[in-house]
Subunit: 318 residues, 4 copies
Amino acid sequence: MARNFTGIEGVDVKVISDRNRGALERAQKSFPNILMTHDDREVLRSSHIDAVAIITPISTHYEMARMALENGKHVFVEKPFTTSAAQAEELIELAEKKKLKIMVDHTFLFTGAVKKMKELIDTDVLGKLYYFDSTRVNLGLVQNDANVVWDLAPHDLSIMDYLIEKKPSALAASGVAHINGQEDIAYIVIYFPDKLIAHFTINWLSPVKIRTMLIGGHKKMLVWNDMVADEKIRIYDKGIEVEDKMKSYSLRINYRSGDMYAPKLEQVEALNREAEYFIRCISEDIDPINNGTAGLRVVKLLEAVILSLKSNGSIIVL
Amino acid sequence: MARNFTGIEGVDVKVISDRNRGALERAQKSFPNILMTHDDREVLRSSHIDAVAIITPISTHYEMARMALENGKHVFVEKPFTTSAAQAEELIELAEKKKLKIMVDHTFLFTGAVKKMKELIDTDVLGKLYYFDSTRVNLGLVQNDANVVWDLAPHDLSIMDYLIEKKPSALAASGVAHINGQEDIAYIVIYFPDKLIAHFTINWLSPVKIRTMLIGGHKKMLVWNDMVADEKIRIYDKGIEVEDKMKSYSLRINYRSGDMYAPKLEQVEALNREAEYFIRCISEDIDPINNGTAGLRVVKLLEAVILSLKSNGSIIVL
Amino acid sequence: MARNFTGIEGVDVKVISDRNRGALERAQKSFPNILMTHDDREVLRSSHIDAVAIITPISTHYEMARMALENGKHVFVEKPFTTSAAQAEELIELAEKKKLKIMVDHTFLFTGAVKKMKELIDTDVLGKLYYFDSTRVNLGLVQNDANVVWDLAPHDLSIMDYLIEKKPSALAASGVAHINGQEDIAYIVIYFPDKLIAHFTINWLSPVKIRTMLIGGHKKMLVWNDMVADEKIRIYDKGIEVEDKMKSYSLRINYRSGDMYAPKLEQVEALNREAEYFIRCISEDIDPINNGTAGLRVVKLLEAVILSLKSNGSIIVL
Amino acid sequence: MARNFTGIEGVDVKVISDRNRGALERAQKSFPNILMTHDDREVLRSSHIDAVAIITPISTHYEMARMALENGKHVFVEKPFTTSAAQAEELIELAEKKKLKIMVDHTFLFTGAVKKMKELIDTDVLGKLYYFDSTRVNLGLVQNDANVVWDLAPHDLSIMDYLIEKKPSALAASGVAHINGQEDIAYIVIYFPDKLIAHFTINWLSPVKIRTMLIGGHKKMLVWNDMVADEKIRIYDKGIEVEDKMKSYSLRINYRSGDMYAPKLEQVEALNREAEYFIRCISEDIDPINNGTAGLRVVKLLEAVILSLKSNGSIIVL
């Protein structure tokens, strides 16, 4: 993040804080002209700083963001926003009162692929959505302070939240914990009005890395494969059409199977774009697409997922 | 099937029955020396026939199989075995009484890939199993008399039933029906003892054809991709090992990432092998691996899936 | 071929000939109503037969085709047409005199992929052609009576001959013989006017099966991958444009990198289409696209390739 | 390179030189404590410097390397070493006289993939080599001062030179120049004793990026695909065996088709390893595998390729 922010016109990175002394020393070497401190409160309370980026373990987000906001600083905070909806709501209220910006690091929203998917959905290229099916698996870094849901799901839930305007109505989640007592495999189903269904596979114990999203609409369907170098988004002119004639006793089903095309995607360094956008939101007083409220919506989904996991996969009404 | 059975030593295919006259005429052209009839009861009651193969809509399996068994014929029947566990149990009992064989067409059990997976699990190459994750999606033939579960899930459930010795303890399923009132997308989670979890994605509305299975064990993990021409099974020497030392406060987690290998698979025409095996089971009085009881286990799972779908994804204890 | 021809309206397959008795017996089982003979001359001289399909080793094509033509029969003959241009020319002349059709089995011309490529080139979608690069490699059946050039190159040369209107001006070929004294690996370069270059890699000793063709034009470029199930043809809106302004001293080069699309290809059984086309060419007196002259052009290229191989890769002017 | 060398124990990067002022300013920002100059002679003649890295256009290599060597500096120089064999020979002689090291930046030799291939060949896992087939194509940066051969071939020729102990005996090359008068597509065939053949496809006008190498031996064959994230090297237990029995009239050919395995490759940053190796060669007086002589061998091949291109693909004896 330091590297990203230093490159932006009008931004002056003043200080980097890390509790790990080794990391701080390495940072000093890379940025000999930036101040280093291992006491984050120094930064959060400083009167010479307008904005902070909080890239720390989830459990510390709330305390740090609150201190920053109370001290008049705009806040960029890693995903997931907070560990509870209550915390997120408190921070949002505080930021509003102080007229400060909160931006939650939903980085994927700034990739060429997600932007293209947003455009395809908003311009009705896909038509009425049928399903949204996401897979994010690999041999993951089993963590001690978070399960696979807190680690991986925020990516896909924030993308879903961005792409789908409808409000989800309910969800259910299943999972198991093989390695250290925290779930390392989980499956989530989210129900929307009009029978739109979303599904998420997240797994820290997969031998292969898979990052795909299938989105099916009644006009077109798409596949996003984030593991290939080119043609990450493929749009299929495929579908099923039902002719519902009054006079016929049975439905007539037609299959459509046409061309596929892979649109050229904007080639951007997403984190860089996001950093620039954070600065622009502050200087031009723009409400970010990934503001505290977006962060809150994702945290609410995460809370419901955890609740469902704890109650053996019960449906949680949202 | 006619072509498969005619090729087997000692088998004499006597008669083919089809209620569709066009199909029967085409069959007559291909097999000018085999008798054709549109009345299946003629076959099922004939005293000149030792065994029948029932390749008909699911709803007819029970009646036809019962008539065949009552008339002293061994029965080969397409999957899924029956539409209810009660029917399956009645047929099994009848076959036992009459000392006749029932074989359910779980064709995949006879592929080189499934045989290799069975071998890898049985010889403990994978180690203790963590998960079993199956995906079978494509732009499917939406059917009027069956949903995607009855159509696609029997394949994967019969493979799971064959590979995993443990008895499943519970399951939950979610799904939606977009096209004609029958589910065209479904997700199934099956729980086993010892935290082994199985998961199935089945979808008739996918623009791409995916047929994969990931099986993760504590020693090795494998991926079966049935859509590639070669190297369908890949075995990864990857995993996570936990050192649980008494003296240390925290677990120590080690990642293992070694070679991958793709074993040569037996190149067989599975249906052909299955047909030969059916004849051998009859002539040598062998109890088939895909006998009525195997068919019944799959039907019981299907019944539970349907029940869960109807009760909004509730957990069904098996 | 017997199966393909029997399915065509108005065609009556009278007799199958094979010098191998086992093959003849198997054929009799599949076609109980067709006459079998191991004496091909019986067929070639019969007065009850209008057309023959010659699916035999290359060295026999000329003799059999000549006898068939002399006896008033239209001829369908496997590729390559003959072992020498002189033979091909004699057969063409004979067919013309007798007003009979010759069709050389350049099956690929009847695939959806090659038809699509022909359309893209003829409608100038690709623009001026830069190169044509073909790879056809696998662990091949090393043959005793032909090297890899006679075995594999006719496929790709006949496709090139069909797609590219220009007459090739020269060629050069390199190869080695590792297994049994016949070349099992060869590389061919063919030069056309206007700097269009064609290149062929053929290899019987490859561990993987590769069947690709890259065709680059100044407007668009395409890749044909015949080993994938879907999206065999991919068209890339990519290229390099040179602005050649009078006033500037140096050329200005622009890179274009746009969308990719994979057109839906006609799903046809090529051999079946070709068989139908053969019958239609006879009944409607059409000159086939794959007539004797097309066969002759391919044989001339093969002769030049062999000559270049024998003279250590020397350029052969065509 | 500056970043790579600064990280090495015992190395003190003193000065960076670039004739481009913008580049120099950006470098100054990244390395505030390193001296910058736009006059390279200042560096090459400085008495405070032990070694230089020459990362400049090919045409400048010889002059700069000579000045550095004359002034007692070890030289690391980008590939290709020089524009002519005569220049390379002169530099090698000069370095020997002065007891200085020359290292040519054949970076690929330091990748996990090439190291693994070297090991597989040296330990005779592949057996007697049949062929070496390399493809390196993409939509390339058409350059004004070099054709595709000088730009891309040094990579693959240096890999071939490293992997194959035998001395090549002859080569031939074909190419065309579509864009700006310099070849942008070329094909190279290199002959070795014992019928080993090497082949190179290099193309700046390809819509897709391909980086593959197939190496076939009589025991095993391998494919290196540098465009995939994992399993870059795949080793196939496939081959053809000839039984040459005295008593039989014809050869008996057996096909072997066994497992495939993808060995785990060392995950290293190749350039980093190479920089460390350069320093170690100096401090421990080691003769580098990529010394001036290795650079010379590659330049000699490049010269022969250019000669063959100019003489319409004639064979050049080496």
